[in-house]
Symmetry: C2
């Protein structure tokens, strides 16, 4: 099968040197790309600016992007021919309304930055999802975790949502280990142990492939 996988952060420029970023390292997404490729599938990995080496598995094609708009364009190109979509990137919800062409000089004591909403990649592609396609999203929540994750699943037309919690020590952004909870629209809830991201990725891939075989 063809897998579309987004990974890493996006950087939204304010000027030639400054940007709004986030703490995603891309490790979980890159581990998922490796796990899908190891399971015999072809992966289009659309990656934001992660400080990770480009995967070497011949079944993984990596497309490097920087902003949410660029990530959307690359994902939209790959989505129609992919059976499974996995949105593991931490896409910026907002970007600066204007990108200054020259470095912003320090002036007043305060600076007001107006941000505008980025395209919601998963939700927008979710509207085009065909019956035989399957969409997997990630949620990173700091409060009301499962309720927020299920709301996200419905809003973005996901079949499975992978909930990362910032509350578990050793899990999530910047760590080499992770602990996730998998939720489905029909109420299945599975929580992984705290394991290396490569092992968690294999568990997620097995769960997704089994659900895909059953429902898509």
């Amino acid at each position: 099968m063809n897998i579309l996988l987004t990974a890493g952060p996006t950087y939204e420029p304010m000027d030639p040197v400054r940007f709004i970023g986030n703490r995603s390292t891309g490790k979980m997404g890159y581990a998922l790309a490796d796990a899908f490729a190891a399971a015999g599938h072809t992966v289009t990995l659309v990656s934001g600016p992660a400080a990770l080496p480009v995967p070497t598995h011949p079944a993984i094609q990596t497309v490097r992007v920087e902003t949410a708009a660029q990530m959307y364009a690359a994902a939209a190109e790959a989505a129609p021919t992919a059976q499974i979509w996995v949105f593991a990137a931490a896409v910026a919800d907002y970007r600066p309304a204007e990108v200054a062409p020259e470095k912003i000089k320090k002036a007043g004591d305060t600076l007001t930055l107006t941000l505008v909403k980025n395209v919601d990649i998963a939700a927008t592609l979710g509207e085009t999802k065909r019956a035989e396609q399957f969409s997997v999203g990630f949620a990173l929540e700091t409060n009301n975790e499962q309720a927020h994750a299920l709301e996200k699943l419905r809003r973005k037309n996901f079949d499975v949502v992978v909930l990362n919690s910032l509350r578990d020590a050793g899990a999530g952004f910047g760590h080499d280990t992770n602990k996730v909870t998998l939720l489905t629209a029909d109420g299945v809830v599975t929580t992984s142990d705290l394991l290396p991201k490569s092992a968690v990725a294999q568990d997620i891939v097995q769960f997704v492939l089994a659900r895909y075989a059953q429902y898509a």
Copy 2:
């Protein structure tokens, strides 16, 4: 001698996952630390979140920080006992006025972010500089380069300012090579060739040590 050297970007958090960053990699600052150590000096390297390995030279003590406020605290501690200060970090001029304790949820079509000025590390320490101390700053300008750099030298009480230009292909943020112009208060101007950052660092260190011997 003791050298205080700041390097890398700073990250200014908006919430537990988002931050305002900049494109400094820390390569130039780390190369300067190596060059000062190789010349027989002791370096306190105060580094923002750079994706570089911690220097292994035993004469380099690395202090890792994230925000401008943390960088100021670490630099202020090392400054009184250092003969030469080198401010190679790309410190954020502004930080979000408030850091949200939970991840900011996507809500309206626009988001207004109020930023407040960070402490100016070089200028604030510059006010405490004694006659026998020597301060070196960096300037990254996209227009009126030498005029802006000299204005910065005066305002921050630098003895030498190193001007990076974004206009030179292959120089500055993210590149392994650099081309800089060295300016002094008394009008000396020297421009390096486009060279690996390690070679440019050696040139800067030789220039600074010679000027220090002459004037501090």
